[in-house]
Amino acid sequence: MNLRRTWAVARKETLHVARDPRSLALAIALPVLMMLLYGYALRLDVDDVPLAVWDRSGTPQSRELVARFSGSRYFRVGGIRGGYREIEQSIARGDVLAALVIPDDFTAKLAGAGGAPVQLLLDGSDSNTATVVLGYAEIVTQRYSGDVRLRMAAAAGVALPREPLAFRPRVWFNEEMTSRNFIIPGLIAVIMMVISAMLTSLTVAKEWEQGTMEPLIATPLQPSELVIGKLVPYFALGMLDVLLCVAAGELLFQVPLRGSGALLFGMAAVFLVGALTLGMLFSIVAKSQMLATQMAMVMTFVPGFLLSGFVFPIWSMPVPVQAATRLIPARYFVSLLRGIYLKGAGLSVLAGEASLLVLFGVVVVGLSIRKFRKKLE
């Protein structure tokens, strides 16, 4: 590989990028736009669940139970209803996810032997959310129930035995348990996968289509010089995109970056070489700009979103699909970024993923150089 020729390619490719303001603007705006869109829209937290209440009892006791629900951060009382028909309609329309029905003999039965029945009607179409909501409701009602018991015992002058279990959970890495902290690092990885392949998917095919490749392959220029030279400006652009994404995570979403920033950008650099060259490989193989962009979109977008573990946990996938995710480089970048962001993990912990990314880069660069033929047929 001759450095002067590589540099000549890098220089002219940089000029192409700099002289195409529309593509340049897109390359910078698109990742930021995707960060905003997915960062704000994609939330997995179950907070403020809209709850309808039909309080047929209307006593201080029943109102206290309702207050327990509305006072928790998990529920928001979304209206008082007066009958099952109304409740059914609100759930069907999606106005509320659940409804609490307190019978008219609630207060009387509170002190009774069988306990006071309280009904929770739940929209189970989204099973995940329903499970979480059910859990929340159980906690709220159990607390209420316990408090009532304590009060009754105190009134009767009886001491209750102490709780036998003292449960002390401690959440690590994402103490507030906000899904945003989990999503944003993965999102950066997926966005970079998609953007990188898109950035480079035109570059070689364009030269074939415009006829500039023909004089080029009649020169001593070597495939490795062409591939690496062309990579240079897009690599710079890609690193700028990473910087913008990280800045958005920091400033807009307040995701804590616990690990080393240098490691983060270092890993991003390794990933970019592979992802950018993958786009170029599509361009080399397709020789048509249209086909190459489509290949880049299909081959990075779908696996990036579905199989990278960015939203859908890999461990819950069927075993063959889990095996398939091992071929998706975005998967390793997702877990690397999460490790650096949330766990503050260093290279010693992340060495496995890091070396797989290096392997990805080496394979794709090698394949691109091999696939680029200095012939017309």
């Binding site: 001759n2 002067r4 020729r5 540099w7 000549a8 390619v9 220089r11 002219k12 000029l15 192409h16 002289r19 195409d20 415009q210 006829g211 500039t212 023909e214 004089p215 080029l216 392959i217 009649a218 020169t219 001593p220 220029l221 200095k374 012939k375 017309l376 047929e377």
Partner: protein, 323 residues
């Protein structure tokens, strides 16, 4: 084979290239001496570009062999690329780069040493008459200027052999002439120029010519040899007020091989050079009383028309387009 200074610039034997069933170049053999301007003349689709692309290492030959600058076509394609300049049909430059940036790029690709780059660049800019427009975007240059820039970019490294594929297509006649002056200047300094064309005037100013049609070489020699040796039959020039009618009529006469329009006149190729009088009388009985018929020395175009597929009139080259 090693590249020696004594070896001819181009030698090919039985060179063949097929695309599936279609044989674009069919067992072509010729030699181009060093410092020669060799013209490759033929109609569109005759196999000119395919041949030039094989010689530049862009296409692998299906069969046959050859050397360029002394290096083998099959095993030395990459070495050949260091010793040639190639200008493709579309003078494909980077439109979004300036004149100077295009030159800088090719200087880098050809590995022109830094201490000689400035001088080479100046020479190319001066030769192409682009000194004042060095900072212009290539996209805004007229075709003639682009053509000279493309030539300039192909000779930055002083290649001993230069391949030009229809270098003057779409360029006005004045610029074409200026371009050919450049080609002659380069040949004088020892550069071998291999040029394809379908313009007869350009073909006449080559040192040697190869006529190609349907993938086969139909004639090879100096323009002079081609005019004298390869002409089958004699040429009669017919002048009349209705040349189109005369051409149609002439085709029907016995002893007339072909008739084709040449400007306002008609050239008829006949078996017998002494047929002028009988042809004139036949034309006059055919309703063209004003026709005058004189035998003339055949031009290259006559040779071409007579050789290319038995002189079919639409075989006359001269149209635009690519192969």
């Amino acid at each position: 084979m090693n590249g020696g200074s004594e070896a001819p610039a181009v030698v090919v034997r039985e060179l063949t290239r097929a695309f599936g069933e279609f044989v674009a170049v069919d067992r072509v053999s010729f030699t181009v001496a060093r410092g020669e301007i060799f013209g490759f003349l033929g109609p569109n689709g005759a196999g000119k570009s395919t041949t030039i692309r094989m010689l530049c290492g862009l296409l692998s030959p299906t069969s046959g062999e050859g050397t360029v600058a002394g290096f083998d076509l099959r095993t030395g394609a990459e070495t050949i690329k260091k010793h040639i300049g190639y200008m493709s049909q579309r003078f494909s430059l980077y439109d979004d780069l300036t004149v100077e940036e295009n030159i800088d790029f090719f200087a880098g690709i050809y590995g022109v040493p830094a201490d000689r780059k400035g001088e080479r660049k100046d020479r190319v800019l001066r030769m192409a008459g682009l000194l004042e427009r060095r900072a212009s975007r290539t996209a805004y240059l007229p075709a003639g200027w682009k053509q000279r820039l493309a030539l300039g970019c192909a000779i930055l490294h002083d290649p001993p052999v230069l391949f030009l594929d229809e270098p003057t297509a779409g360029v006005d006649p004045l610029r074409r002439r200026a371009f050919w002056e450049l080609i002659h200047e380069m040949a004088e300094t020892g550069t071998t120029v291999f040029v394809t064309t379908h313009y007869m005037d350009e073909a006449s100013s080559c040192d040697r010519l190869g006529l190609i049609d349907g993938g086969k070489i139909v004639a090879l020699g100096t323009p002079e040899e081609l005019r004298n040796r390869f002409m089958k039959g004699a040429v009669l020039e017919v002048r009349t007020s209705r040349p189109e009618d005369a051409a149609v009529l002439l085709e029907t006469f016995p002893g007339v091989r072909s008739a084709a329009l040449f400007g306002n006149t008609v050239h008829a190729v006949v078996d017998d050079p002494g047929a002028a009088a009988s042809v004139a009388s036949l034309l006059s009985t055919g309703g063209l009383a004003d026709a005058t018929v004189v035998p003339i020395t055949p031009s290259l175009e006559d040779v071409f028309v007579s050789l290319v597929e038995g002189g079919r009139p639409d075989g006359v080259p001269g149209g635009e387009g690519t192969e």
